[in-house]
């Protein structure tokens, strides 16, 4: 652990949250091997009801939130999420991350009608064989594509998301072409995080940094399709602007910190009280042991993602090993033994 005086960098200051991610449910109709929420088929009775989310959103809007991302699990697996979207959309850009298998034309039209801003659709492969093997549900690729098409017919902008892993890293270019053909505006190629079921299957699904960067470098997005990726030189330390609340009302800063931090129960204390948690403030400050110049130049932050930095080093200020400029020989296919929470307060 470094002494505070040795730290470098620093993130833009932000005194109040401007965007929030809601982990609406930890239930889903699929069984993805890469699931970070380790979803069950049925929602836990401890998950917050829509009425509580609506009260919480009002508090967040009052605090300055103007963008809401709703994810899961599969948010549409709980139909009351529509009440929350309808409440949020007049006051905040409201985005939905979904596997789209529960979206038909009627659902897509309803989402559009209640003010959803856009949808982010998870696909785990360009082909049914790859996707269905990773979701564990035969036919899910066809159902996700049908849902994506319904969203587009309803006029909703769609971004396709794919979590890169050993099962699909050779299929990313066809996935870009599929997404483009289906009318997606962008594809986000996401790094794998050692969380939930993905962590348990890490030995089989993870890739070396060289394999991942080679896969990214080989991509040729079709004209008009935007490619988003967070490897060098785009590895941001996003904590300065992140706020997230999980399905049980715990303030966790970012969904990718879901197993590492707990800033408090927002059904018992105000969100802003959790915002001032010492660790939350420290992560937002963004001072780190080492900064990658290339990523700092493009992202205006330092050290890269705090989730993967902590997962591999057990220190909040550590360099992110997913950044080739900061990796320093870490084999991303091998997780550190045991739980490392060395410098958590």
């Amino acid at each position: 652990m470094s002494a505070a005086g040795d730290l470098v960098g620093g993130s833009p200051p932000l005194h109040r949250p401007m965007k929030v991610t809601i982990g609406y449910t930890e239930s889903c109709n699929l069984d993805c091997r890469v699931c970070y929420a380790d979803c069950a088929r049925e929602p836990s009775p401890r998950e917050l009801p829509a009425a509580t989310w609506i009260r919480l959103l009002d508090e967040l809007f009052e605090a300055g939130v103007i963008s809401v991302m709703i994810e899961g699990g599969e948010p549409l697996h709980r139909p009351d999420v529509l009440e929350v979207i309808a409440h949020a959309a007049p006051r905040a850009m409201t985005r939905l991350r979904t596997n789209a298998t529960l979206v038909d034309d009627a659902m897509a039209a309803r989402l559009r009608l209640i003010g959803l801003g856009d949808a982010m659709v998870d696909l785990l492969g360009a082909t049914p064989a790859t996707h269905d093997a990773l979701t564990g549900v035969p036919g899910s690729h066809a159902r996700s594509l049908a849902g994506l098409r319904a969203l587009r017919r309803a006029g909703l902008p769609v971004t396709v998301l794919v979590i890169m892993n050993r099962g699909n890293h050779r299929e990313l270019q066809p996935l870009l072409e599929l997404a483009h053909a289906e009318g997606a505006e962008a594809v986000g190629v996401l790094r794998p995080y050692p969380l939930g079921r993905m962590r348990r299957d890490w030995a089989a699904l993870s890739l070396s940094l060289e394999e991942m960067t080679a896969a990214i470098a080989a991509l040729r997005p079709p004209p008009g399709l935007r490619l988003m990726q967070s490897w060098h030189p785009n590895d941001a330390n996003c904590c300065w602007q992140m706020a997230a609340v999980n399905a049980y009302g715990r303030s966790i800063g970012c969904m990718y910190l879901r197993e590492y931090v707990d800033y408090g129960d927002v059904t018992e204390v105000s969100f802003l009280e959790t915002w001032e948690d010492p660790l939350y403030r420290r992560l937002r400050a963004g001072r780190v042991e080492t900064s990658c110049g290339g990523c700092a130049a493009t992202q205006h932050t330092h050290g890269g993602c705090r989730s993967t930095a902590f997962a591999f080093h057990g220190r909040w200020d550590a360099p992110d090993p997913f950044d080739s400029g900061l990796n320093r020989g870490v084999d991303l296919r091998v997780l550190p033994a045991g739980e490392r929470r060395g410098d958590a307060p």
Binding site: P12, P13, L14, H15, M18, G64, V65, I66, S67, A89, P90, R91, A92, M93, T94, G115, L116, G117, D118
Partner: protein, 98 residues
């Protein structure tokens, strides 16, 4: 004819960054405004072209000359209209139109 903000427009100033986020729920989109666009948006609501030009020139002098202020305002207004953040009231006409 006065300028008017888009219906339901919500602003979220981010003074820490010298910027402002603007959300248009009628056509859901989040816009990031720089300080100049933010100023024009704040000044434009309810003002006609002449009053807006006068207010903008007063706020930007002496950093901007009169001609530079006029040009900056025209470009900013065009951009804000193109993004759907400002509009003319329904039924209104723009200058030069019958």
């Amino acid at each position: 004819m006065p300028h008017e903000r888009a219906p339901g427009l919500r602003l979220r100033p981010v003074p820490e960054l010298g910027a402002c986020l603007a959300y248009t729920p009628a056509a859901p989109r989040l816009h990031q405004l720089n300080a100049t666009a933010w100023l024009i948006l704040e000044l434009a609501d309810g003002r006609d072209d002449a009053a807006l030009a006068e207010a903008f020139a007063a706020r930007t002098a002496p950093a901007l000359s009169a001609s530079a202020a006029r040009r900056t305002l025209e470009e900013g207004l065009a951009s804000l209209r193109a993004c759907g953040l400002l509009r003319r009231p329904p039924g209104g006409t723009t200058e030069g139109e019958p």
